[in-house]
C-alpha cells in the first residue's frame, strides 16, 4: 500500500511512559467535579476516574441544594458534559473504603483527590432527652431531595417547629417548610416525603440564633426569598436599633404583628440565644436557651427541633469517610472535606482550581510522578458493581419520564431499583 492517508485521522499511539498521570477523584459532588474539570483542561492526556458511592452523581448538588433551587442545580450541565464528551470516567456505586480499600486505590493512581464533603449534621452539643424530636437540617434536606437512604426522617415535624441556626441551610429549611406545595412548580422535590414530613404548613416556625442580627451568616437574598412567600409573616422581637447589616435591615422593614388566620406560617427570629438543653414535656420537645446578655432562660415548647449548625464527616464507624490515614504525598483534599462546611459552590470551584494548581506544580517539580495503572489497576475488583455514566443516564431518563405534573423529575429513592435501571434489567 502506497500513500495511505489513514494516518491523518488516527493519532499515533503515545509512546510508553509519556501518557499523562492517572487520577482518581473520590466523590462526585461539586468540588470533585470541578477538580476533574480543571485537571482535564490542564492535562488533556490524563486518565481521570471519578468515584461515587451512589449510582447517581453530583452529591451536594443533587441531594443538598434545595429542590426548589433548580437554577443552582443547573451547574450539573457542565459536569454532564465532562462525562459524556470530556473523556472522564464515572465510577458510580463504588464506596472507597468499603468496595475498594484506600491503600489499593492509592497504589493504583498517580494522583488521588478526596472530595467526599461533609455529609453528617453537626449535633447540638447540649444535654438532650433521647425522646426529644431533633432532626438535622442536612438529613431533612436530603429526605426532601429524594436521597436513597432508609435512616432519614419520615414522620410529621408538627405545627410548631424550631430551627437552630441562621445560615443559608437554616433558611432553606424555613423556606421548604413554609412554602405551599403548589409553589414547588418546576422543582424535583420528593412530594411523598414532603407530604409525610409536612402534611400541612407549620403554624409557627421559631429561629434561634446565637449571633445577633448583624452577625447572621445567611445571604440577604435567601432571606428575601422567604419573606416574599405567600402566607408567611415575619417577626423579629428584640431586634435593636443598634443591629446593622442587610439581615437586620430586611427584618426591620418586614416584621408584622401576628395574625390569627388559619393556613399562615409565622416565622419568628430570635437572636442572641444560646441553646442549653433539649428536654421533653407531655410528649413535646422543649428547647431551653440562655440569653447571651444575661437574664432569665427562654423556653420553647415545640413539636420538633431542626438543627442547622454545620456539618461533619459523618459517623465515626463509617468506612467510607476519609480518616487521617487516608494520606500520602500524592493524595489531596478539596472542598468542604478540606475547608469545612463554609462557602458556596462557586467558592468550592475556586478551591478546586487552587488544588489543581498545586497538583500540577507538584507534578512538574517531580514531587509526584506518573506510572501507576489507573482504573485498569482496580477494574477486576469493581467490574461487577460499577455504574458508569451511560448507566446513570438510564436512571435519569426514568426519573424524568416519571415526573409528576409540575415537577422536573421524580427521584428514585430505592437503590435496588436504581441499580436495576442502570443495568437495563428493569
Amino acid at each position: 500500500m502506497v500513500g495511505t492517508h489513514s494516518s491523518q485521522h488516527v493519532p499515533p499511539p503515545a509512546p510508553a511512559g509519556t501518557a499523562g498521570p492517572t487520577v482518581a477523584v473520590v466523590g462526585s459532588g461539586p468540588s470533585g467535579c470541578y477538580v476533574a474539570q480543571f485537571l482535564a483542561k490542564t492535562w488533556p492526556d490524563s486518565e481521570i476516574t471519578v468515584f461515587e458511592s451512589l449510582p447517581a452523581p453530583y452529591g451536594l448538588i443533587r441531594y443538598g441544594v434545595a429542590a426548589d433551587h433548580q437554577g443552582t442545580k443547573g451547574v450539573v450541565r457542565q459536569f454532564d458534559r465532562l462525562f459524556t464528551r470530556g473523556g472522564i470516567r464515572f465510577a458510580g456505586n463504588v464506596t472507597v473504603g468499603r468496595d475498594i480499600g484506600f491503600a489499593r486505590l492509592a497504589a493504583s493512581f498517580d494522583v488521588v483527590v478526596l472530595a467526599t464533603g461533609l455529609p453528617g449534621d453537626r449535633e447540638l452539643d447540649v444535654p438532650r432527652d433521647p425522646r426529644a424530636r431533633v432532626v438535622g437540617a442536612g438529613a431533612l434536606l436530603r429526605a426532601l431531595n429524594g436521597f436513597p437512604h432508609h435512616g432519614l426522617p419520615r414522620t410529621p415535624l408538627g405545627s410548631r417547629v424550631l430551627v437552630v441556626g441562621i445560615g443559608n441551610v437554616a433558611l432553606d429549611v424555613l423556606r421548604l417548610l413554609s412554602k405551599d406545595s403548589e409553589a414547588f412548580t418546576g422543582s424535583d422535590i420528593d412530594d411523598e416525603l414532603l407530604g409525610q414530613l409536612r402534611p400541612a404548613r407549620p403554624a409557627v416556625l421559631d429561629v434561634v440564633a446565637r449571633s445577633d442580627a448583624s452577625g447572621a451568616k445567611c445571604d440577604a437574598a435567601m432571606l428575601r426569598e422567604l419573606i416574599a412567600l405567600d402566607g408567611v409573616d415575619i417577626g423579629a422581637p428584640g431586634l435593636g436599633d443598634q443591629d446593622r447589616g442587610p439581615v437586620a435591615d430586611l427584618l426591620r422593614t418586614c416584621a408584622v404583628p401576628a395574625r390569627e388566620e388559619p393556613g399562615r406560617t409565622r416565622v419568628t427570629f430570635h437572636f442572641g440565644l444560646v441553646p442549653e438543653s433539649v428536654t421533653t414535656r407531655d410528649g413535646r420537645t422543649v428547647l431551653t436557651a440562655r440569653r447571651r446578655d444575661g437574664g432569665e432562660p427562654v423556653e420553647f415548647v415545640t413539636d420538633s427541633v431542626v438543627t442547622a449548625i454545620g456539618f461533619t464527616h459523618g459517623a465515626a464507624q463509617d468506612d467510607g469517610c476519609p480518616g487521617p490515614d487516608w494520606a500520602d504525598d500524592h493524595v489531596y483534599r478539596v472542598g468542604w472535606l478540606s475547608r469545612g462546611p463554609r462557602g458556596t459552590i462557586a467558592e468550592n470551584r475556586k478551591h478546586a482550581q487552587r488544588v489543581v494548581r498545586s497538583i500540577v506544580d507538584d507534578f512538574e517539580a517531580g514531587r509526584i510522578t506518573a506510572g501507576r495503572p489507573g482504573f485498569a489497576g482496580v477494574a477486576d475488583l469493581l467490574a461487577c458493581r460499577v455504574v458508569g455514566f451511560r448507566d446513570w443516564q438510564r436512571i435519569e431518563a426514568a426519573e424524568e419520564r416519571s415526573a409528576r405534573p409540575g415537577r422536573c423529575r421524580r427521584k428514585i429513592t430505592d437503590l435496588d431499583r436504581m441499580l436495576a435501571l442502570a443495568t437495563g434489567a428493569h
Partner: protein, 151 residues
Amino acid sequence: MNELIVLFGTESGNAELVADDISAALQEKGTAVRVADMEDYAVDDLGEADMVVLVVSTYGEGDLPDTAAPFHDALVEAKPDLSGVRFAAFGLGDSTYETYNLGVATLRATFTALGATQIGETGYHDADSGLNPSDVAVAWVSTVLAVATPS
C-alpha cells in the same frame, strides 16, 4: 468579519460553558472565534477584535463575578477609548433574585460609556426558567450577528 472574541466572566463555570458553546456554534458557520476569560484578558487588547461578545453572570448582591470584577475595575481605571469597538452582551441570572442580571448591565453601561457600540439587544438567561443557557445563548447570538452583518 475577521475575528470575534467571546469574553466570559464566571463564578460557577456556567458562563464559561455558554461562551464555549457560542464559540462552537459560530465556528460552525465559519466565523473565526476566540474564547477568553476576562480574568486573563488585558483591556488594552479590546480594540483588536472586530467584535466582542460579553458573557457574564451576576453574583452576591448584583455584583460581577470574581473573575470579571478586575476586568471591569481595569476598564473604569484605565478608561480606554472603545469608540472603535462593537460588542454584544449576554447575561446569566436568576429572576428569583431582585438583582437579576445586574452584572451584565454594569458591564454594558461601562462599555457604552467608554464609547463602544452595542449590537443587538442584550441577551438573558434566567436560571429559574429551566431552559438550557447554551440553547438560549446560541439562538441569541445568531440574531445579534444578523444585525451585525446585514446581508
